[in-house]
């Protein structure tokens, strides 16, 4: 089912462990991302969400288990094949990661110029179309330093979809955005996914994303602790999920970092 390239799941992670040196980051991750859907990976800061995206992008390798993207197991891919596969992926980085020495136009055009032989007039039209899709056609000649946080995120989004990827990954697309920009970006994610016929994975801790996604995985302490549709997640009685959804400061996720007895430390 996974070798013919036409499985229903674009991304399939099986029993994946990952560690940075000695420090275990992820344990026993089983995750499926069906084609055409938007899947959110939610969880607190530092729970290993971003690492999940880096595993799917092949930027880091799992210490155990298998990551399958578009029917191909990443472990068996040579460097060149990995790069071919990445051409079908688009990624929006946490703070945009726009190239600071190029203007908006060149940022979006970058991948087209580097990876394709398209003639410049065609690239120009494509870039303007991508910028139009995120509402920033008029900002083509601005430098990244002249953009607001929300605009930078939208340019990065236009850049991520430059070559019409089949898989779009978003690393904290909503972090630090004002409510209007947040609504704009979240609507864009849904629209672009459906218009491009793509599959999207959003790593986030914003509950806002529950409105636009089809499925949610909750990650805590390096493992997946719950999964379901947004409705299921919102109605569950699981204490961790409740704490996350209701934004309670204390609960299964403790407010205090593990510490010796308070009175003892104060010498009382």
């Amino acid at each position: 089912m996974t070798t013919n390239g036409h499985s229903d799941n674009l991304v399939d992670m099986r029993k994946v462990d990952f560690a940075y040196g000695e420090r275990a980051v992820l344990q026993d991750i089983n995750m499926q991302v069906p084609r055409g859907r938007i899947v959110a990976i939610m969880g607190g800061s530092g729970s290993g969400k971003t690492t999940l995206l880096r595993l799917i992008g092949g930027q880091v390798k799992p210490s155990r288990g298998e990551v399958i993207v578009d029917g191909r197991s990443l472990a068996g891919l040579r460097n060149k094949e990995m790069f071919e596969l990445r051409r079908t992926m688009g990624m929006l980085f946490q703070m945009g990661a726009l190239f600071t020495d190029m203007n908006v136009f060149d940022n979006v055009a970058f991948q087209m110029r580097e990876n394709t032989d398209l003639p410049e007039p065609l690239i120009r039209d494509l870039v303007l179309m991508k910028l139009h899709a995120v509402g920033l056609r008029g900002a083509w000649n601005l430098m990244p330093s002249q953009l607001s946080g929300g605009m930078a995120r939208r340019v990065a989004l236009a850049r991520a979809i430059a070559l019409d990827p089949t898989l779009i990954m978003y690393d904290e697309p909503f972090a630090g955005l004002d409510p209007i920009s947040l609504a704009v970006v979240s609507r864009l994610i849904r629209t672009l996914n459906d218009a491009l016929g793509a599959t999207s994975i959003i790593v986030t801790h914003e509950k806002e994303s529950l409105n636009i996604v089809d499925y949610v995985y909750l990650v805590s302490g390096g493992t997946i602790i719950a999964g379901g549709t947004p409705e299921e997640i919102q109605q569950t009685s699981d204490p961790y999920v409740r704490q996350f959804v209701d934004a309670q400061p204390d609960g299964p996720v403790a407010f205090h970092y593990p510490a010796p007895d308070y009175r003892e430390m104060l010498g009382l």
Partner: protein, 269 residues
């Protein structure tokens, strides 16, 4: 007995840790060098990438190179003339200035200036690109940062150093001329002919340029490597930038001694 052993073991460990650390660093640097050389094909296919970086590394360093060279040459002319004059040989000042510049001061001072002006900038730029995930983003676009970002900067710097060194030599000699001939009244014909007689193109000028090639390779390798392996934080980039300047300076001075020993000893005999 047991505590003696553990003390001894601890001593050996403390002795070994910095040594193995240095060796690991050397190994990583070498692997980085080969990976970058392997990724340098893009620079040949698209020389525009290198030329663009040469503008930042080379052209923008011109002012500091020209001004420094002028003053170094002027000071040399002044000092040498004062000393030589005591022995009645003030006329050879042109030769002394030229030899000092093309053999030693030109390559070394130009390299030190480029390391602090351009090397540190390269480290900071690459380090910040890493910190802001620009390198990661490039990787995810199926573009190798080593071939698109690192290699063009390395080669641009490598090519710029001998060119800037030549400019330094020429301007320095002109500074010496200004002081000696225009200021102190040495005969212009003597100044130039003494220089022409004593300075050998192959042995002095070319050797000086060869030195600068070595310096250029060392500075640029240190600069791009420090930037590429910098910890992706503000403190990490600051640390890497400092390291670039400090290590470049030490390596330039150390290499200069070795190269001089190879090139210029036994020439008088």
């Amino acid at each position: 007995m047991k505590s003696l052993f553990s003390a001894l073991a601890g001593f050996l460990r403390r002795l070994g840790a910095p040594v193995s650390g240095a060796l690991i660093g050397l190994g990583q640097g070498t692997r980085f060098l080969f990976a970058m050389l392997a990724a340098s094909g893009t620079c040949l296919r698209r020389p525009g990438l290198v030329v663009r970086e040469m503008y930042f590394v080379g052209v923008l360093s011109l002012i500091i190179i020209v001004v420094s060279a002028l003053f170094v040459g002027m000071v040399l002319g002044l000092q040498m003339y004062e000393t030589l004059q005591r022995f009645g040989s003030g006329d050879v000042v042109g030769m002394v200035v030229a030899l000092a510049l093309v053999r030693e001061l030109g390559p070394v001072l130009a390299a030190l200036l480029i390391a602090s002006r351009a090397g540190s900038a390269l480290t900071a730029e690459i380090g910040l690109m890493k910190t802001t995930e620009q390198l990661s983003a490039m990787e995810m676009m199926a573009i190798q940062p080593l071939s698109r970002v690192v290699a063009p900067r390395f080669w641009a710097g490598f090519l710029s150093v001998p060119l800037l060194t030549s400019v330094f030599n020429v301007v320095g000699i002109y500074g010496g001329y200004l002081v000696a001939v225009e200021g102190l009244g040495v005969d212009a014909g003597t100044f130039w002919s003494q220089m022409q007689n004593a300075v050998d193109f192959r042995l002095d000028v070319v050797n000086g340029i060869i030195k600068s090639l070595f310096f250029g390779a060392a500075i640029m390798l240190i600069a791009v490597y420090q930037g590429y392996q910098a910890a992706p934080t503000a403190a990490g980039v600051a640390m890497a930038t400092t390291q670039t300047v400090v290590r470049s300076a030490l390596i330039i001075l150390g290499m200069d001694f070795v190269l001089t020993a190879f090139m210029f000893t036994g020439m008088g005999s």
